[in-house]
C-alpha cells in the first residue's frame, strides 16, 4: 500500500480560517486529514512559488436531480455547444467522457469542480419527493463531496403548521424530512409564491396571501427561521426571496433580510447567521421597468453590511448562453414570456414546482450588462468577505465553470474595465451602475474567504471544510500564482483558478497540472436532527401519505444504498 502521508511543501499558504495570509509553509496530510506533521516517507508535492489554499466550498449550485435533468433533456444543443466531447482531458487519461456546457453531465460536473480545486458543493434545491433521483446523481458525480437542500417554502405541512404558529411541529416535520430525504438544511424558494403558482398566481410582497393556505411569505420565512434555530441545524435557512428578477425588487429584498433581526442564531457548529440570502444579484434591482432598470447593489449591501446575522452569495452573470432552472415556477413562466424560448414546468405534488428556460446573457443587451455589474458590485461593496460568497447560481446566471472569471473581475479593475469597454451601451451601463467608479480589487485572502472559510462556516461545516487546520479534511488546492508577484495580466488569474496546479481531495491527488488523475472518493453529507418523538406530526405525515400523496410513505424515503458513502452530521435537539 502506498504511503497515506502527503506533504505540500513551501507554498504561500492562504488560510483565512486561521488568519494566515501568504506565509510560506507546509501542509501535511495523513489518512485523508490535515495533521501537524508527517514522517519523512510522506509523498512530497512541491508548491514553491505557488499559492496553497483549502478546497473550495460552493454554497449554492444546481448540479443534480430532476430539474437539472429536465434541462439536459430539453437542451441537446447544450452538449453540441460544449464543443468536441471526445478526447477531453479526463477521457484521454482513461476517465469518463464529459459533455454539456451549462448543464454538464454528472462526470463533467465532478471533474470541472475538481479542476477548479473545489471539494464541496451544495445542490441548492432538492424536491423532497424526488430526492432519490437527486442522490443517484450525486453518487454518480465523481470526486466532490455534496449535500442537498430540500425545499420547504411552499410545502403544505409547513404552511399548515406555520399559519397556526406551530414552530415545534414545523421543526419536527423538518427533522423527519431531512432524515427521509438525506437532506442538509432548509431551502426556501419564492415562499408562498410557488404554491400560489398552482392557481396561476404568485406572491410578490411579504404580506401577499398564499391562496388556500391563508399564510404569507412573511409568516413562512419567520417561522422557518425559528424552526431552524429551534433545531440548531448546521446551516441557517437558505432563501431565494420573492419577486426575483424584477426591476424595483431591492426594497422587498431588504424587507425580507430585516426579518433576520427577529431571531438569534443557536447552534453548535460555529454558524453566526440566521439567514443565507442566495443569488442576491437577482434581488438587487432598482427601476420601475427594464427601460430605467438600475443597480440596487449599494442599498442592499449597505443593509447586509450592518446585519451580521445575514450571509449572501452573489449569483454573478457571466455572459454565457445558459439554462435557467428554479423551483420558482411562476418566474420561469415570466422569463419564457420575455425570451420566447422553450419552457419546462413541473408541479411536485404537496411540495414544490420547477421551471426551466434557456437564457442568453448577451453583452450587447443593456439589461444583461447591468446585471453583470450588480453581481460584482455586491462583492465590492461588501465589508465582511466571510459573509459574501462567490456563486453564479449555476446555471442560472452562468455556469459554475466561470467562477475563475468572476474571481478575475473581482481581483482586477483592469479586467472589469476591459469588459465594460466591450459593451455596445457602455455609457448607459455606467449611468445605471456603480461599477465604473469602484477601484477596489479583492485580495487572494478575500477570495479565499469568499470561496473557502466563509461558505464552510455559513454551512456549519467549518470544522471540516474551507480551512487547513489540523483535524480538517485533507482537501488542498495548489494554484499556479505567485503571492509575492501577482501577474499583471488578469487572464493569468482566471487560468490559475480554472485549472489547479494540483488538487488533493481527502488526502489523494485527484488533479495534477489541471488534469484529472483520479475519480476520488466522494461523500454525501446529510444532517440527522434527532428530535423528541412528536405524535401529532407522525400522525399528520401518515395521514397525508394515505390521503394526498401519489406514493406510499415506505416508497418515499431515500434508501441507504443511494448514499453509500455518507458523512452524517448529527444534531441532538433537546425537548
Amino acid at each position: 500500500m502506498a504511503s497515506r502521508e502527503l506533504i505540500i511543501k513551501g507554498g504561500f499558504v492562504v488560510d483565512p480560517a486561521r488568519k494566515i495570509d501568504g506565509d510560506v509553509g507546509d501542509v501535511a496530510i495523513k489518512d485523508g486529514k490535515i495533521v501537524e506533521k508527517v514522517s519523512s516517507s510522506a509523498k512530497v508535492i512541491d508548491a514553491k512559488g505557488k499559492v496553497v489554499m483549502a478546497g473550495g466550498v460552493d454554497v449554492h449550485s444546481h448540479v443534480a436531480g430532476p430539474k437539472v435533468n429536465a434541462g439536459r433533456l430539453m437542451r441537446p444543443e447544450d452538449k453540441f455547444r460544449a464543443g468536441i466531447v471526445r478526447g477531453n482531458m479526463a477521457q484521454k487519461n482513461g476517465y469518463r467522457m464529459e459533455s454539456g456546457f451549462s448543464i454538464p453531465t454528472v462526470f463533467k460536473t465532478g471533474y470541472e469542480y475538481a479542476r477548479m480545486g473545489y471539494s464541496f458543493v451544495m445542490e441548492a434545491a432538492m424536491p423532497p419527493l424526488l430526492a432519490p433521483h437527486v442522490h443517484e446523481e450525486i453518487h454518480d458525480t465523481p470526486i466532490i463531496d455534496e449535500a442537498a437542500l430540500p425545499v420547504f417554502g411552499n410545502n403544505w405541512f409547513v404552511m399548515d403548521y406555520l399559519k397556526k404558529g406551530e414552530v415545534e411541529n414545523t421543526a419536527a416535520y423538518i427533522a423527519w424530512l431531512l432524515r427521509a430525504t438525506k437532506g442538509f438544511g432548509i431551502k426556501i424558494v419564492n415562499p408562498g409564491g410557488t404554491a400560489a403558482w398552482g392557481w396561476g398566481l404568485n406572491c410578490i410582497a411579504l404580506d401577499d396571501p398564499v391562496p388556500y393556505f391563508e399564510t404569507t411569505p412573511r409568516q413562512i420565512i419567520t417561522g422557518l427561521m425559528k424552526a431552524n434555530e429551534y433545531l440548531g441545524l448546521p446551516h441557517s435557512i437558505h432563501i431565494h426571496q420573492n419577486d426575483l428578477g424584477n426591476p424595483g425588487n431591492y426594497q422587498l429584498t431588504i424587507d425580507s433580510l430585516k426579518l433576520a433581526e427577529q431571531v438569534k442564531p443557536k447552534n453548535k457548529f460555529g454558524r453566526e447567521q440566521v439567514m443565507h440570502s442566495t443569488h442576491i444579484q437577482f434581488h438587487s434591482y432598482k427601476g420601475t421597468g427594464w427601460a430605467d432598470f438600475e443597480s440596487g447593489a449599494k442599498e442592499v449591501m449597505d443593509y447586509v453590511n450592518r446585519n451580521k446575522a445575514i450571509t449572501v452569495d452573489l449569483g454573478c452573470v457571466t455572459f454565457d448562453e445558459t439554462t435557467t432552472m428554479t423551483a420558482d415556477g411562476p418566474f420561469e413562466h415570466h422569463l419564457r414570456g420575455l425570451n420566447h424560448l422553450k419552457w419546462a414546468n413541473v408541479d411536485v405534488e404537496l411540495e414544490t414546482a420547477a421551471g426551466v428556460v434557456p437564457y442568453i446573457y448577451d453583452p450587447n443587451v443593456k439589461v444583461c450588462d447591468i446585471q453583470w455589474a450588480i453581481g460584482l458590485e455586491l462583492a465590492l461593496f461588501a465589508q465582511d468577505m466571510s459573509r459574501t460568497f462567490v456563486t453564479t447560481d449555476h446555471p442560472n446566471a452562468g455556469p459554475f465553470t466561470r467562477y475563475p472569471r468572476v474571481i478575475k473581475w473581482l481581483m482586477s479593475k483592469k479586467a472589469r474595465e476591459a469588459t465594460l469597454d466591450s459593451f455596445r451601451h457602455k455609457d448607459k451601463v455606467i449611468d445605471a451602475t456603480h461599477i465604473h467608479g469602484i477601484d477596489r480589487e479583492l485580495t487572494l485572502f478575500e477570495i479565499a474567504q469568499m470561496t473557502r472559510s466563509g461558505p464552510a462556516k455559513c454551512l456549519g461545516l467549518g470544522a471540516y471544510y474551507g480551512g487547513l487546520a489540523p483535524g480538517m479534511l485533507g482537501d488542498v488546492m495548489v494554484l499556479d500564482l505567485n503571492y509575492k508577484d501577482m501577474p499583471k495580466d488578469p487572464e493569468k488569474i482566471e487560468a490559475a483558478f480554472q485549472r489547479a496546479a494540483c488538487f488533493v481531495k481527502s488526502g489523494e491527488i485527484v488533479v495534477r497540472d489541471g488534469e484529472v488523475v483520479s475519480n476520488g472518493h466522494k461523500k454525501t453529507v446529510w444532517v440527522n436532527a434527532k428530535v423528541p418523538e412528536n405524535a401529532q406530526v407522525k400522525r399528520d405525515i401518515a395521514q397525508s401519505f394515505t390521503k394526498d400523496y401519489t406514493v406510499d410513505l415506505i416508497n418515499y424515503v431515500v434508501r441507504d444504498y443511494l448514499a453509500p458513502h455518507p458523512m452524517v452530521i448529527d444534531v441532538e435537539v433537546e425537548a
Binding site: M74, R75, P76, E77, D78, F80, R86, H340, L341
Partner: protein
Amino acid sequence: MATVTLKPIKTPELIFEGYSITPDAFAGKTAQQIAGLTGHEGKIVTTIGDFFEVSGNAGETAADTDIIINGDCARVKYIGSKMTAGSVTVNGNADMYLGGWMKGGKIYVTGNVDSFCGIQMQGGEILIDGDAKNHVGCAYRGDWRGMKGGTIRIRGSAGNDIGTFMLGGTIIIEKNAFIHVAPHAEGGTVIIKGDVEGRVGGQMVKGDMYVLGKIKFMMPGYQKVGTVEKEVDGVTQTFDHYIGDLGERHPKSKGQIVYANLYLKAAA
C-alpha cells in the same frame, strides 16, 4: 486554383467522420499532409489517408482549393462541414451532415445524401443530383436557430423536417417531400416542386413556402387570402396564397401582422 482528388480505397467498418475534408482544412497543404489529417472512426482517431488515396496539392487558401472525391462516400460524414470557400465535388453518394454549418463555397454531389445535409448552414451553395434523406437545412436537435443563408438544391426528393427553425436562405426540392416543411421557421424560402404529404409550415412564424405539386393534408392553421402570380425559380405561375400558422405568435411590421406565406400552385 488547385485541385485535390480523393479516391476511396477502403470502406470504413463503422463510419468515417470526415470533418477534415474541407477546402479550409486542406488549404496550404500537400497531398501527403492532407492524407495525414485526422478524422474519427467510432472513438478511434484515424486519418484521411486510411480511407482515401490523395493526389494533388491544395491551393494557398480555401478559395483556391477544389476537392474532388471520385467514388462512394455513403459512409463518410461531415464532408464540407463548416467550409467557408472553395468547392467540394462528390462523384457518388455522401453520408450525414454534408455541408453542415457551411459558410461559403460550393458542394456538388452527383448521388444521394443522407440526413442533416446543410444543417444550420449560413452561406454557400449545395447541389445534390439525387435524393436527400431527412432534416435538409434544419436546426441542430433542440436548437431554435436554424439555417441562416445560402442555397440548397436537391434535384430529387427529400424526407421529413426540411428547414426546421429556418431563418434565411433558400431550399429547393425539385421532386417530392414527406412531412414537416419549415416547422417553426422565422424566415427563408422553401420551394417544393413536387407533392408533399403534409404538415407544411407548422408553427411557422415568418418566411415563404412554395408548393408546385399537391399537399395531401393541409395544416388547419392556414387561411387562403387570395390568388397571386409569382415567379419561382425562373418560372411565373399562378398560386393560391395562404397565410399562417394562425396558431403561432407573429411579429408586427409597420402596424401589420407578419404571417408566413404558403403559395400553393393553383389548379389549372
